[in-house]
């Protein structure tokens, strides 16, 4: 043992400090580094996904890109099954093995801010109390136009395959004998 102790590099103390010295904590800015959400390997642009929750649950949609927030940008396309451009969490989605060609679809302009709601004018409590009904949400013309462009570019490749179109239009559901954990998608 003696030679091992002698071989220790000089300058380093041979003894442990008597008191514990706490290591300084990392600065707050360093700790909260934004790590992008990891996309499931089965989800790539063009993957047909089954939505599992929300208003469009059971619908088959096409994945377009991952947003900065980590959510998936999907669309029905709207013309086929009524699902507009929409953000969904990848946890609420089943990725199928079917892939469409979406290389011609340009969604670079669509980001998280695109889906932000317009700030409402503040109402007084009295106004809110007497309001008759909530205002119907209106889809802006710009969004409708964007949807049309995206739909058209997806449908260009889809129009040849009638069965594929019918597939996207059909809703996914389980029957009695189906065991989703043992099924291949």
């Amino acid at each position: 043992m003696a030679p091992a102790a002698a071989a220790k590099p000089t300058g380093e103390s041979r003894w442990y400090p008597a008191d514990d010295i706490k290591a300084p904590r990392k600065s707050k800015a360093k700790r909260s580094v934004h790590k992008p959400t990891k996309l499931r390997s089965s989800i790539t642009p063009g993957t047909v996904c089954v939505l599992l929750s929300g208003r469009f649950r059971g619908k088959r949609v096409v994945f377009l890109k991952q947003m900065a927030s980590g959510t998936l940008l999907v669309t029905g396309p709207y013309k086929v099954n009524g699902v507009p451009l929409r953000r969904v969490n990848q946890a609420y989605v089943i990725a199928t093995s079917t892939k469409l060609d979406v290389s011609k679809v340009d969604v670079s302009a669509i980001d998280d801010a695109y889906f932000a709601r317009a700030p409402e004018a503040k109402k007084t409590a009295e106004d809110a109390f007497f309001a008759q009904a909530s205002k119907e949400s209106v889809v802006s013309d710009q969004k409708k136009k964007d949807q049309d462009v995206v739909d058209a570019s997806i449908l260009a490749g889809l129009s040849k395959d009638k069965l594929l179109k019918a597939y996207l239009n059909a809703k996914f559901s389980l029957t009695k004998k189906d065991r989703p954990h043992e099924m291949v998608f």
Partner: protein
């Protein structure tokens, strides 16, 4: 109803449990009342020479002409000569297994296509049946 399938040297069996599940093998020797020595042959069925309990075997109708403790080459020759794989593939037993495996491997889109095809078939059958009923 007598027995037609026997444990004997050269009997082809299906392995129904364990890592070799679903593969064919040939009985080469009987170890005792519970175990047999089997061989694929490995090149044709993918089953290595091993000892296996009868509990994991299901006997088939096929038999290969070999002697006890046949070597791999001899067995392979006899197995190929008896054309066991083709004959096995033609049995209802094998076809049912294959269909089951095929169905389990279908993806979401394939399941949808299958559903459509079944609908079309049913419609064709029903219209034909209705026609026959009308004319009868």
């Amino acid at each position: 109803m007598g027995f037609t399938r026997f444990v004997e040297i050269g009997r082809v069996a299906l392995i129904n449990y364990g890592p070799d599940e679903g593969k064919l093998c040939t009985i080469i020797d009987v170890v005792d009342h519970n175990k047999a020595l089997i061989d694929g042959p490995e090149e044709l069925t993918g089953v290595k020479r091993q000892m296996i309990p009868f509990k994991r075997l299901a006997l088939t109708d096929f038999k290969v002409k070999i002697l006890r403790n046949a070597r791999q080459g001899t067995l392979k020759k006899a197995f190929a000569e008896a054309d066991v794989l083709a004959k096995w593939g033609a049995t209802a037993w094998a076809r049912k297994r294959a269909a089951k495996a095929k169905r389990a491997s279908l993806g979401d889109l394939d399941r949808f296509k299958l559903m459509i095809a079944r609908k079309q078939k049913a419609r064709a059958v029903n219209t034909a049946l209705a026609k026959l009923k009308k004319s009868a």
